[in-house]
Symmetry: C2
Subunit: 172 residues, 2 copies
DNA sequence: TATTGTTATACTCTATAACTATA
DNA sequence: TATAGTTATAGAGTATAACAATA
């Protein structure tokens, strides 16, 4: 139906809006904002998105999980896949394609262990070391951004409280 | 190879261990424990596992995301899929199979909207309402557990700080 | 033309079960 | 017999692109 030309009494800005959709109903979230789990999921998802954006903007591609993995391998050279999977809290079969990808990118190698031929001794390549140095700078920038609304002491408090939640959730 | 009977000088408890594996090297996590993002991911993953365990033990099956979705539909009956997807922060195509599953479980229905035949008006069934009441009790028990290491004021502080992180991560 | 819901497709993360080689 | 790594498989979550119905 053709709308008549807006009379001078109409709100000018509203009349110029492109679509004038239904008023975009305000969502009632009920009890959700009182839930710790909900607050964590929301914050986590925004943090994840910012991590990705930080890397993409810099022309790099990495997930938080991959960063954690690279740090663990660098700090624990010669680690086996089992030990790494345990440290990451994932199944050993889950780890395989992740390592495949990082190895295909030339960041990481699987050496044969001389002492136990069943295991692979993991290590970073020279490229992997260099990349991790770049990644670490990006992670620090990202951390600075997500903590930009917090004082240094609030950030420490937040990490402490999260550690307590981690401990409580694992208990029993 | 047969192990000789432990001489009396051996540590008795160690001699009785089933496998006596290599000493399970202590993992060095480097800078990771100083990172907010890392603390959030770890806590989040433990909280997620506890959520699942709470529901499984009670003979129910639900994810945190499904719970949030059901609450939103209950509190905003008649919501469209687009509006729900926006509220959840996911793509509308991602929502389709999730709604399919909840509808197949008889918890939720898609009605045709009388005012705009393109949209579906979402709503809970009577079964869905009853289930959500049960789910809400389980979520409260779960929340109590994951916050069991925190005082009431610490819990409030944690939620506030997470909200600040959420806001900062979304900015720019 | 634009929007809503759907489908087709693809990728990642996750797990379990079974296979292999080694111990 | 038990462990390490791999493969096959399956399910959930995520997205993009294209399509039909409707506005």
């Amino acid at each position: 139906m053709a709308r008549p030309p807006a009379p001078s009494t109409a709100k000018p800005s509203a009349a110029l809006l492109p679509a004038a959709r239904p008023p975009a109903r305000r969502i009632d979230r009920g009890m959700l904002p009182t839930l710790l789990g909900y607050a964590m999921r929301r914050a986590q998802s925004a943090v994840f998105a910012d991590f990705a954006a930080t890397f993409t903007q810099a022309g790099e591609a990495l997930t938080p999980g991959e960063f954690g993995l690279l740090v663990l391998v660098e700090r624990n050279t010669g680690l086996s896949q089992m030990a790494l999977a345990r440290a990451l809290g994932i199944d050993r079969s889950t780890l395989v394609p992740i390592l495949d990808r990082l190895q295909a990118r030339g960041l990481l190698v699987r050496h044969r262990s001389p002492t136990d031929a069943r295991t692979h001794a993991l290590g970073l390549t020279a490229d992997g070391e260099a990349a991790l140095a770049r990644f670490t700078r990006l992670v620090k920038a990202h951390e600075k951004h997500i903590a930009s609304g917090l004082s240094a002491s609030e950030t420490r408090t937040l990490i402490e409280l999260l550690e307590k939640v981690h401990a409580a959730a694992r208990s029993l």
